[in-house]
């Protein structure tokens, strides 16, 4: 018995790509328990920044973590869903909508990050939910936000080293 509770978790944490970004201290963490603890602390501190990057620009968090494939996939899919939603003239929920569904809609839309800010650029004529296409557009934008939210959690988990794939 090693006497180190959570030893397997420590091994997983040492596989985190954040170790590459931390420099020599992070790289040598497996050989020294003190450094390992410091490295784990740094990862916990840095992980929210990767998550924030992933939220602001879809795929940026994965790009910073050197997950090129995922970065490209998330940027393309979130961007594709959001822009198609805007071109279909879906409803973009404002921050102060006043009711619960409006707030949920705003949270989903705002999860698209930069694409929420660009809504007015792509949807110059404004939303039109009197047609089915506009209603579809609303769902496209919300789905883009949910997909980006999943990518934010994924980037956070990768940065923490809990997810090695």
């Amino acid at each position: 018995m090693s006497g180190v509770p959570g030893g397997s978790q420590k091994d997983t944490l040492n596989d985190s790509p954040v170790n590459d970004l931390l420099g020599p201290n992070g790289a040598d963490a497996s050989s020294n328990s003190v450094r390992s603890h410091e490295s784990a602390t740094k990862r916990v501190v840095l992980a929210p920044f990767f998550a924030m990057a992933a939220w602001i620009i879809p795929g940026l968090g994965h790009l910073a973590l050197k997950r090129w494939g995922r970065a490209l996939i998330f940027f393309s899919c979130v961007g594709g869903l959001a822009i198609t939603g805007y071109l279909l003239r879906g409803n973009v929920f404002p921050p102060h909508s006043g009711d619960l569904f409006g707030t949920l809609g705003f949270l989903a839309d705002a999860s698209t990050g930069i694409f929420y800010v660009l809504a007015k650029f792509f949807e110059r004529a404004g939303p039109d939910v009197s047609r089915a296409a506009g209603d579809y557009g609303t769902r496209f934008i919300a789905a883009a936000g949910i997909v980006n939210l999943l990518s934010v959690f994924d980037a956070y988990e990768i940065a923490l080293g809990r997810r090695t794939m």
Binding site: I73, F74, S76, L81, T84, L87, R139, V147, S151, D154
Partner: protein
């Protein structure tokens, strides 16, 4: 021609704009969500392609099945 016009042209059908655009919009949604889920859950390119294709076809199959199930209620 703006990007908006190009995409709107794809989203509408020349003879039946509503039906054409509905199916295309659903297919595009299914494709993008399938690719995102494949990227999230699978590691290798081969696994991702297989999963995305499978997920996309299931999306379409379920949507068409639900559409037919709702058909009697539309009359």
């Amino acid at each position: 021609m703006t990007a908006s016009c190009v995409i709107c042209a794809f989203l509408s059908h020349p003879h039946d704009p509503v039906r054409g655009s509905h199916f295309f919009a659903m297919s595009l949604f299914a494709l993008l969500v399938s690719v995102a889920l494949a990227g999230l859950t699978k590691r290798t390119a081969q696994e991702r392609i297989k999963y995305a294709a499978s997920c996309f076809l299931k999306f379409l199959a379920v949507a068409i099945a639900i559409g037919w199930l709702m058909f009697p209620f539309s009359h």
